[in-house]
């Protein structure tokens, strides 16, 4: 789960990291009231879960009441890389003497947290990483040992931090690590971590990703998952416990197991089709879960045909067939379905479907044939619509 900037900063502040004063606004009036209260100059910042908003005009400095109003209404009207801006973060502007970069990432290859520090932070950190990797100090921490002060010193001296700041850099890194562990984050990134004119370190931005699997241990963080910018189908699916990702195309996809569903998307694309979604019904799906999944897929109006691709292990094909029959009765779909059932109880599943005689349902024997058929059907329907 990716947090918005202000959510990330509030989370880091709980662990002693210094962040600027500020507040959230969802309307121009709220934004202006906050700005007046904080005083000028102040920053008006779009809250979206995507990088690079600064370069696209999503962060502006207001020097007066009138500017705060103008910036707030302009940014609230923006779409940043397709995401509408629903919230603003208004904060007191900071006096910036230098921009550092600090992060803790979950390094899969090393199977350990990796802490990074650079004195060359700011919008071009990726270019720095590519051109001068030695400008970024980095080390792995044994999770059973934890972050020690010497780790902090190795990073601070390695990154050539100005001497008077070494102590506070070590302290800030240690607090970021505390937050990473205590909140069970998989990413904590502060860019820029600024040095103020008063020689204080302040997190001016924050990118925090929390581990969804650990949320049960962090009830305080659970409401953060209620994203304002979440897609309608993705929200429906999440509330029903299904794994669903919205895509751009017009062919609805349901399968069991993440790998098989990804593979199904690929095979459909190779057959010339465009998948509308990724939906993993999971292992051992019962009939009502299948019917619910169909409901989520069909709620996307772009969908012109649906492909079911099931290889049953713990999932039983007869249960899948029952779910599909239930879904047809309940939802009366107006788009064709192609079904491929293999594995546990596949013969019974196919017999149930044949007996039900569902209109617009096609059974195919193999994954490849099913993909070709659904692509033909989706294309055919488009011609009819013209």
């Amino acid at each position: 789960m990716d947090l918005l900037e202000y959510q990330g900063k509030q989370l880091l502040a709980r662990h002693g990291v210094v962040v600027p004063d500020g507040g959230v606004a969802e309307s121009v009036a709220e934004a202006v009231a906050l700005a007046d209260q904080l005083g000028y100059p102040c920053a008006v910042k779009a809250q979206v879960r995507i990088g690079g908003r600064g370069k696209l005009g999503g962060v502006r400095i207001a020097h007066s009441h009138a500017e705060a109003r103008a910036h707030a209404s302009a940014i609230l009207a923006m779409e940043i890389r397709g995401l509408p801006v629903r919230q603003l973060w208004i904060e007191r502007a900071s006096q910036i003497a230098a921009e550092y970069y600090a992060s803790i990432v979950f390094d899969r290859s090393a199977q350990a947290p990796r802490v990074m520090l650079s004195t060359r932070g700011g919008v071009d950190i990726e270019a720095v990483a590519a051109a001068e990797p030695e400008a970024i100090a980095s080390l792995h921490v044994d999770p059973l040992l934890g972050f020690q002060p010497f780790h902090g010193r190795l990073l601070a001296f390695g990154a050539r931090v100005e001497r008077d700041l070494v102590g506070s850099v070590v302290q800030t890194l240690s607090r970021l690590y505390d937050a990473f562990i205590a909140e069970e984050a998989t990413l904590v990134e502060v860019n820029p971590l600024i040095v103020t004119s008063g020689r204080e370190l302040v997190a001016l931005d924050a990118k925090v990703t929390l581990d969804d699997s650990a949320l049960y241990r962090h009830p305080d963080n659970a409401p953060l998952a209620e994203a304002l910018d979440e897609d309608r189908q993705e929200r429906m699916a999440r509330q029903r416990g299904l794994t669903y990702v919205k895509l751009e195309g017009d062919i609805g996809i349901l399968g069991n197991g993440a790998g098989l569903v990804m593979s199904t998307l690929d095979v459909v694309a190779q057959a010339g089709g465009r998948p509308a979604n990724f939906l993993d019904a999971g292992g051992g799906s019962k009939a009502d879960a299948i019917a619910t999944a169909v409901e989520v897929i069909l709620s996307d109006e772009k969908v012109r045909a649906v492909l079911f691709n099931i290889f049953g292990g713990i999932t039983r094909c007869d249960e899948v067939a029952r779910g599909l029959i239930e879904a047809f009765e309940r939802l009366r779909p107006r788009v064709p379905f192609v079904v491929r059932l293999d594995g546990t109880n596949d013969e019974e599943g196919r017999r149930l479907l044949a007996d039900a005689g569902l209109d617009g349902l096609y059974v195919e024997a193999t994954m490849d044939a099913a993909a070709r058929r659904v692509v033909e059907l989706a294309a055919g329907r488009m011609e009819l619509a013209r």
Binding site: L144, T186, A258, V261, M262, D266, D342, M367
Partner: protein, 298 residues
């Protein structure tokens, strides 16, 4: 021969008194797997259709000589159970549990690095099957026959799909290993490729990867340097958009790395053949075996 498990493997099932654990423990015993014990804290002294249940792994190992653990423990208790099994001296731990918190996995792997004699398969995996010998997991054994193709995969149902395509062409398997879809798997492609390379029954290796991380790229390098047997690879996720997690916690294309195209290219450069669909993978494998490629010839 086979890798990791055979008919002599002595399996202890954690969570054997739960619905899933009981079902698969008994199912696997019917298949011929040597299921010697179960562990459920607080239920020691009971039995599940003749399989004795113990309170702790230490007791189960002492009483039955169990050398493999199969875990059906709920995610929030799974890390603890893995650590307990390792501490009790079990050599092979297969963790089926899905949704173990990432930081738990970090701590488990840090501890297992201190115990080089212990191998973890999973978590979030379908387990290991050596057809005709033993099933330590939930792979539906009825679809697979003994044979010469070793299979290693990050995904359960994709393994069945590829295994099913191989079976349709008359090919059986030495061992099928699901290493799981989590960001930090206990065993990697490289670990399992090394075992298949040494296994006399295995003549050809099929590996099924997916987007996210760099495990496939590492496998490609290992194949180039250390694997003499032919490898046919498959990568799922060519159409996955960057930044979206595709079901498996580990399946995400981020920051321009972990994409399917780059993985397929790396594997081809490493000397593997890459099939673009599960069907093509099976066709390539069948063709290579029929042509005698890798039929013992090095």
């Amino acid at each position: 021969m086979s890798i990791l498990i055979d008919e002599r493997t002595r399996v202890c099932v954690a969570g054997i008194t739960g619905r899933e654990g009981r079902f698969h423990a008994l199912n696997n015993r019917r298949y011929g797997t040597n299921v010697v014990a179960g562990v459920t804290p607080g239920k020691g002294g009971q039995d599940v259709e003749g399989v004795p249940v113990f309170d702790t792994f230490a007791e189960a190992v002492a009483q039955t000589g169990a050398d493999a653990a199969l875990l059906f423990v709920p995610a929030r208790f799974a890390a603890d159970s893995i650590l307990e099994a390792a501490e009790a001296g079990v050599a092979l731990i297969v963790a089926i549990s899905e949704g173990i918190p990432a930081h738990d996995e970090l701590r488990v792997m840090a501890q297992l690095r201190r115990r080089p004699g212990v191998r973890l398969i999973g978590p979030n995996c379908p387990g290991v099957l050596s057809p005709g010998k033993a099933n330590v997991g939930i792979i539906p054994a009825a679809f697979f026959r003994p044979g010469s193709v070793g299979v290693v995969s990050r995904s359960g149902t994709l393994t069945y799909q590829i295994g099913g395509e191989l079976a349709r062409r008359g090919l059986g398997n030495s061992t099928i290993v699901g290493i799981g879809g989590d960001p930090i798997p206990g065993s990697s492609f490289v670990d399992i490729l090394a075992l298949f390379e040494e296994d006399p029954q295995t003549e050809l290796i099929v590996m099924a990867g997916e987007i996210g991380g760099d495990a496939e790229e590492r496998a490609a390098q290992f194949i180039a340097e250390h694997v003499s047997k032919p490898v046919v690879a498959y990568i799922a996720g060519f159409t996955a958009p960057p930044g979206k997690t595709m079901g498996h916690a580990g399946a995400i294309v981020s920051g321009g790395s972990g994409g399917a195209e780059a993985k397929a290219r790396a594997l081809e450069e490493g000397g593997a053949r890459v099939g673009r669909t599960p069907t093509e993978v099976a066709e390539l494998a069948a063709g290579m075996l029929a042509a005698g490629v890798g039929g013992g010839a090095r």
